[in-house]
Amino acid sequence: MSLSIQPYSAEQPVNPYLDVDLYDPDADLMVLNLGPQHPSTHGVFRVKLILDGEVIVKAIGYPGYLHRGVEKLCEKLNYSNIKAIIDKNDYISPMINEQAVNMAFEKLAGVEVPRRALWLRSLLAEFQRIASHLIALGTFGLDVGGALGGGASAFMYCFRDREMILDVFEELSGCRFHYNTHCVGGNRHDVPAGWDRMVLPALEVIEARLDELVDMMVNNQVFVDRTQGVGVIPKNLALGLGLTGPNGRASGIDCDLRRDAPYNAYGEVEVRPAVRSAGDCQARFLCRVDEIRESARLARLFLAGLPEGPISGTKPNKGPTSVKIKEGRCYVGLSTPRGELGTYLIAGGNKGLSPYRLKIRPPSLHHLASIPYILPGNNLSDAIAILGSLDPVMGEADR
């Protein structure tokens, strides 16, 4: 058996457009369709794997099974309606998705957002980041450990902790999942009385239990064997592919929009993003662990420093539902748990009531675009671990 395919490295890059007929005429290649109905593709993602034994020779990704035409729909909806469907894009962190489109709308409409709303948004974003990363860690455990094994235990622990954050959100907005709590020019729900008595213990418990999770997963030799040096994405490839968020930072890209291009209230606090250089599955996992700790710290800061004042300023607009933007175009990026969620907006459609074009830059699609590069040369089992470590959300990638 010839194993001329090696995993991606800077010296020996993988050709994602490899003609398999030229690979090795004698090899018995096998085509394996991973997905769209597969428990470990995190949704309905399909990878066509061409295998030589158990080694992947070529990987072809097929997203689009969850394509719902959100961008087309946004051209028909009012600005205030859009955030409610953007919620459903990245269904693991809906809170931040609402903020992304709202930021673009506010920038073009010239709406001044009150300071309290900015701090509240940052606070909610950090909670959402913890919840989202907990899911990422748990499902990665599921990917390497199996649905009937230690991975499932890690998954259960993570979901138990995430429940506390959902409780916190429910107390604030009445919803556990698709909050619809941001509007153009501010927020809809103010902090309820005694909220901090619920929030602070939850943060403490999550941090304490995170140490247990690290003990169970990261300090476990089997886990280390499965993740260390697997699916390495060199920095240059990560830059070219546009790998943002923990995936990019695990490859050594020291860039976090919260610190480098501050929005909301991030300019007023010090953000210390977790950066690692290994670029393998373990680094991506550890980056997320570190980010949970950092987010818990930031959330405490934002909660303690939450300024007084109104949470919604509707100055140039009569009400939050009557946003009208005649013209203009902008690109706005913010940092979700997955990476840079960009919104490219051309205003002026539907007599100024809807966007003319709303393009969402989904970080997950960029992460998935890396699989033709990093899967070849790896074992079939590693393909699952790599896919899981990228933490894609198909709702966002396919839109």
Binding site: K72, G242, Y344
Partner: protein, 157 residues
């Protein structure tokens, strides 16, 4: 010489600030991306194509207007402490192709395919220009202005 001045020299357009979208002629598109990459804008962020349906001559617009496309590209400078991005657009006539950035940025592959799929902009020198989101046998490009949502598309509807 600042980056903005270099960009202005290359493209022959007034560029004050790279973060405010500026217009570039199609022939300068690839060279501009190359310049920006060497200037530190190494982070591939996104590409967004937009379709502008033409108008037949009418009362408001007696001349009528042709069908055009605009392709906006965003690159980011990943500098710790002060990250900024560059955003420019290329205006294309109907059917005119645009240079693909795949030789510079691997990420332009899928992003280009997505815009080709949904808007119908053709990318030159793209190694693998296929539909990304819609089924392979889909007809039409959904994000065009003249593409009706209500139209049925058998067998998908």
């Amino acid at each position: 010489m600042t980056t903005a001045e270099k960009v202005a020299a290359l493209t022959g357009t007034e560029v004050q600030e790279l973060e405010t979208e500026f217009v570039v002629a199609p022939e300068h598109h690839f060279a501009l991306a190359e310049l920006l990459q060497s200037e530190g804008y190494t982070f591939y962020i996104t590409v967004a194509a937009t379709h502008f349906a033409g108008e037949v001559p009418n009362k408001k617009n007696p001349e009528g207007s042709p069908e055009t496309f605009q392709v906006a590209t965003v690159l980011r400078k990943p500098e710790p402490g002060a990250s900024s991005f560059a955003c420019w657009r290329v205006e294309l006539a109907a059917g005119e192709p645009i240079d693909s950035l795949v030789p510079l940025f691997e990420g332009a592959d899928w992003q280009g395919r997505e815009q080709f799929d949904l808007v119908g902009v053709v990318f030159k020198n793209h190694p693998d220009l296929r539909r990304l989101m819609m089924p392979e046998d889909w007809e039409g490009h959904p994000l065009r202005r003249d593409y009706a949502i209500e139209t049925a598309h058998p067998p998908w509807r």
